[in-house]
Amino acid sequence: MAKTVEELRAEYATKEKILEVKDLVIKFSLRGDVLTAIREASLDLYKGESLCIVGESGSGKSVLTKSFMGMLDANGWVESGSILYEGQDLAKYKTEREWLRIRGKEIAMVFQDPMTALNPLRTVGRQIQEAVELHQGLRGRPAKEAVYELLEQVGIDDPVRRYKQYPFEFSGGMRQRVVIAIALACKPKILICDEPTTALDVSIQAQILELLTQMQKAYNLTLIYITHDLGVVAHVADRVAVMYAGEIVEVGLAEEIFYNPKHPYTINLLSSLPQLGVKGQDLFAIRGTPPSLFKEIQGDAFAPRNPMALKIDFLHRPPYFEVSPTHKAKTWLLDPRAPKVELPEAIRLLQSKWGDDVVADA
């Protein structure tokens, strides 16, 4: 069934927040220097939705989501800000004991590379069973049965035989299914998928994606999906958050982001999509490199690479401007005083399709 954007907005107005990130700052110390990987990022996650996080390499997608599980590398820490989950501020968690209440039980993760995500010397079944034992309170025979069931659920046939096999006896796609089974065994409320299909063949990518959407329904999961692939985004996302240099620069319903992008970075990102290329014109590419995270960033982090940057972009950091109740972006372009700028042709074409007649697949 297809829903209009208005209907989706109305739906979101009644949805409950499950996770609230507020002005989160995450730093790392690296050879005596300190770098700021996450710069006052704010993000809300709603129960049951699929949120895609996009942004170029190094923008902080993994770091941000790892901080929800206390899985930052040892040289990193939360400097300020909060991560609210069920009345608790995860940003204040320090000890392993505290994090064990969250990891797996509340939030689980699927990683990018299934070839290395499993212990090569332990049977696949045992590795799933560890999660079953930790989070479902089962032991022995019943735990094993639960593993068989999980294996079947994620599409692995002959679970009794597969239980006893080692990861090297599984293909990449099958291993990713095992990793997903491990995540499901934890019975989490939130599932973070950090580029779960990047390392796989294209044909397998679709299968894994399909499996994840199925499992989301079956387990009532809230999904955070990190990806570079805007095709994947179009396929799975209810909402999209766009990251740039450690900030969430724009967030909105998938339709809002795709058809009505507001932040120059989002606009540039979409313009560089081959699918959107205008016939006879060179494919668009974002020029320049992201800013150094070691230095304090003045104004809008994207300004130096932005051909339509305003003067103020170099001086002051833009706040969020609301485009709709579900759509906001951190750019001075949305300030009422901002001059009108010429958008790339591809985006104008997109925007011309934008309106209340745009419908989303549900």
């Binding site: 599980m69 899985m71 392993e96 064990l100 990891r103 797996g104 039980k105 689980a108 993760m109 990683f111 590379d113 290395t116 995500a117 499993l118 212990n119 090569p120 010397l121 332990r122 049977t123 560890e130 999660a131 930790l134 989070h135 080692y166 090297f168 006896e169 599984f170 293909s171 990449g172 990793v179 491990i182 995540a183 065994a185 934890c186």
Partner: protein
């Protein structure tokens, strides 16, 4: 699995064969005096030649080699020339084996248990005081010539702990110092590698997944990291055995232990070629046996070998 074992077994046999040959050739480079009895000085050249001929030492090399193999196959290691003239070498060596075996076994056990444990703790508490202390120990053991700390231990063991300076089979207290001395190097080596392998494992991706699913660090250490690090460690056990044997050469002389190590030193000093030859063969056989055992243990621990996986199979 069976194929792997059979393969390794024949490889070991082949190695043994090569070693036997090399030992034989090396022994032909030893001073010729080693083949005569105590009266070497009194023999004139003709008599010497006669003795050599009677021992088959003037035959062409390949005939000698063939005879040597046949002799070994019969279990005949030759007779001593100087040490105890005309006594079969085996009779000299046999009573010494239990001492060497016992002391070697004890120190090997010590070096593995303590070394592995130390390594585990150093990895678990990496970059803390404990880790630094362990590293200091490893550095010292590796930097100081072993003969120096052997002596050091012998002297201070006596002065401070009142432990016997010489070995006495009937007094277990006198076994302590030689066993510890022999184990020190192995402990350092095992601890160093164990720490290293565990730290390697800790940086692997699957540890992240194990944490993400909510396992405690201690459980991860125990069920994943330690077990995986054991595989390369097991591979190193033959080296430990070798180290212990090398140590025993000096330690057995130092503490007057009536074992094979001390015997080898004496045999070399007194140029008893058949005795040296037999001892070198026995030591080699032990090492090859150790290597073989290491391979078997590997196979038992590593499913990729157990199931005959091809590297990189998906």
């Amino acid at each position: 699995m069976l194929r792997y074992i059979v393969q390794r077994f024949f490889q070991s046999l082949l190695t043994l064969f090569v070693v036997v040959t090399v030992v034989f050739i090396l022994m032909r480079f030893m001073p010729i005096e080693g083949f005569f009895g105590p009266n070497y000085d009194k023999l004139d050249p003709e008599q010497q030649q006669a003795i050599l001929r009677s021992m088959g030492l003037l035959d062409p090399l390949h005939i000698q080699l063939k005879n040597f193999y046949l002799q070994l196959l019969r279990g005949d290691l030759g007779t001593s020339t100087i040490f105890r003239p005309n006594v079969p070498v085996w009779e000299i060596i046999a009573p010494k084996i239990p001492y060497s075996l016992f002391l070697g076994w004890a120190s090997l056990t010590l070096s593995i248990t303590i070394g592995f444990t130390l390594g585990v703790f150093m990895a678990r508490y990496k970059s803390t005081f404990l880790d630094r202390l362990g590293t200091l120990y490893i550095v010292i053991i590796n930097a100081v010539p072993s003969a120096v700390y052997y002596l050091f231990l012998q002297l201070y063991g006596k002065d401070l702990l009142n432990l016997p300076m010489l070995f006495d089979p009937d007094n277990p207290k006198s076994w302590i110092l030689p066993i510890i001395s022999m184990a020190l190097g192995g402990i350092a080596g095992n601890a160093m590698w164990m720490r290293r392998y565990m730290v390697d494992e800790l940086n692997k991706d699957y540890i992240r997944l194990a944490r993400a699913k909510g396992m405690r660090n201690s459980a991860i250490m125990f069920k994943h990291v330690m077990r995986n690090a054991m595989i390369p460690m097991v591979h190193g056990i033959p080296t430990s055995i070798l180290l212990v044997m090398v140590g025993s050469l000096y330690i057995e002389s130092l503490y007057s232990i009536p074992g094979m190590g001390g015997l080898l030193i004496q045999a070399i000093q007194r140029q008893d070629t058949p005795l040296v030859q037999a001892l070198v063969l026995i030591f080699s056989a032990f090492s090859i046996f150790g290597l073989f055992m290491g391979d078997l243990l590997m196979a038992a621990l590593d499913p990729r070998i157990k199931l005959g996986a091809k590297e990189g199979s998906r």
